[in-house]
């Protein structure tokens, strides 16, 4: 099996956005533009995350996914605001392959059981957002805004009993800061998780990602900023993307970020099993 490089696209009102610690969102452009570029550059999977999950936003996201499915032939996951079998069914019917749940699963674990029973384990993943509070990791919901009192390690154990097929873990303290992953944190999780484990939040450089794969035996990494910033193009047409101060002021000569092919080559050269 190859390690997976997953691109995560946070979408708000039809626009690709990116925040820091899951807050302070910046507009980056058309999600379909980025997804197509990533597909052409051999991304292993694409994850769309609906960051507001309002009805208006869901309709915008549906259009993006429908357009995406027509030209992109890799696995697509969608998360954010999925609360019923009907929600899951609608997404799977427009070309989504994997359903990612957070809030609705914490509030009602039976919903997760039901999803697994209908669609099978490998179609259902859970996205955990956690925050370190003194010496305890607490599970957060509603895109990292609300506490649950639920201990991360207890939740991880319960999810595996339920039969969840994959666990994505975002450590909110590190998210969007591009300062690297908390290696010991993911190492301790790996020892407790026998289903695929994906790390999200913190990738700042190719060295960070190499370190993560070398040290933790994790199955994949979910990356947003460092791809988005590399592939972003300056767009002066503010009508197409709403308020986009950041985009207009973006300096194309900026060297931040990395191309997917370059990252993959680097990892493969460093003996990580990567599809190139």
């Amino acid at each position: 099996m190859f390690k997976r490089i997953i691109s995560r696209l946070d979408v708000k009102n039809g626009i690709l956005v990116k925040g820091i610690n899951l807050e302070g969102l910046r507009n980056l452009g058309d999600p379909n533009y980025f997804a197509k570029k990533y597909y052409d550059d051999l991304i292993d999977e694409i994850h769309f995350q609906d960051v507001v999950a309002s009805l208006y936003n869901r309709n915008a996201l549906t259009k993006i996914i429908e357009k995406n499915s027509k030209s992109i032939f890799v696995n697509v996951s969608v998360g954010g605001g999925i609360r019923s079998i009907k929600d899951a069914d609608e997404l799977l019917r427009i070309g989504v392959d994997k359903i990612t749940i957070n809030t609705a699963g914490v509030e009602n674990p039976n919903f997760l059981r039901e999803l697994v029973k209908i669609y099978g384990s490998s179609t259902i993943s859970v996205n955990i957002e956690t925050i370190k509070l003194s010496d305890n990791y607490e599970v957060m919901i509603e895109a990292g805004r609300e506490k649950t009192g639920l201990n991360l390690y207890h939740w991880v154990e319960e999810l595996q009993q339920i039969g969840i097929g994959e666990i994505i873990i975002t450590k909110i303290n590190d998210e969007g800061k591009n300062k690297g992953f908390d290696i010991n944190f993911y190492k301790s999780l790996r020892n407790k998780i026998d289903v695929p484990l994906i790390a999200h939040g913190g990738a700042g450089s190719k060295e960070n990602i190499l370190e993560l794969f070398k040290e933790t035996n994790i199955d994949g990494v979910s990356i947003s900023s460092i791809f988005h910033y590399k592939y972003m193009v300056k767009d002066n047409n503010s009508n197409t993307i709403g308020t986009n101060y950041f985009l207009k002021s973006y300096d194309e000569k900026s060297t931040s970020g990395i191309f997917i092919k370059d990252l993959k080559k680097y990892l493969a050269n460093n003996k990580i099993k990567i599809r190139i």
Partner: protein
């Protein structure tokens, strides 16, 4: 001029039907969705049973809606049929996913939970190489033999002559595709395997 082929996708209720639909539409074909026996017509040139869904749920739909009958009829003709993931698994005698469920029993074998020694991560999700065991007309121009898998169960069969590729996962080497007469089946998802995956659809259409 050659007529545009009609491809029927069996709607199992839980599948990623749309992804298969779009993969087919990369080529010049008509695509029809078949939700029940009544939707089937003789001018369908080839059928596809897509993946996703648990075995008991998919088999129930196949039987209740007369979809199993369509599959059995179709493979008794000389028209090609393609089966993906759980679609491949239902061709076998039975499965152990959520209790025991009888399959279509076209091939002898059982669908069992993936277990490896030492223990490895299950479900299997991601890209893996396949090993060619015999020629398959749908795989003949693929270069990397690397495809996208997502499953917790695998096919264990004594009918080794039908296996066109295997895949290795830890200590386990299992059947990852089948090529037998007009039946082509894949444990992996060609519609999720990039350009090499699309070639499988192209080759399937070319058989018509």
């Amino acid at each position: 001029m050659k007529k545009k082929p009609n491809i029927g996708i069996i709607d199992t209720g839980t599948s990623n039907l749309r992804s298969v639909d779009y993969a087919l539409k990369e080529y010049n074909v008509n695509v029809l969705h078949i939700s029940s026996y009544e939707d089937f017509s003789n001018n369908i040139d080839g059928i596809i049973v897509p993946g996703i869904g648990s075995y008991p749920v998919v088999m129930k739909k196949m039987r209740d809606k007369g979809l199993a009958e369509i599959v059995l009829n179709q493979i008794s003709t000389n028209k090609p049929s393609m089966f993906i993931c759980v679609g491949m698994q239902i061709l076998f005698s039975k499965s152990h996913e959520f209790g025991e469920t009888k399959g279509l029993d076209i091939f002898k074998g059982e669908v069992k939970k993936i277990v490896t020694y030492p223990k490895k991560i299950v479900p299997v999700i991601g890209w893996n190489k396949v090993l060619l065991k015999k020629k398959c007309p749908l795989l003949n121009d693929n270069s990397n033999f690397c495809y996208y898998f997502t499953h917790s169960y695998f096919v264990k069969t004594e009918e080794e002559n039908i296996i066109s590729t295997t895949a290795k996962y830890g200590s386990l080497e299992y059947c990852s595709s089948i090529s037998h007469k007009n039946i082509f089946a894949f444990q992996f998802h060609p519609e999720k395997s990039g350009k090499d995956g699309l070639k499988i659809y192209k080759n399937f259409i070319n058989l018509i």
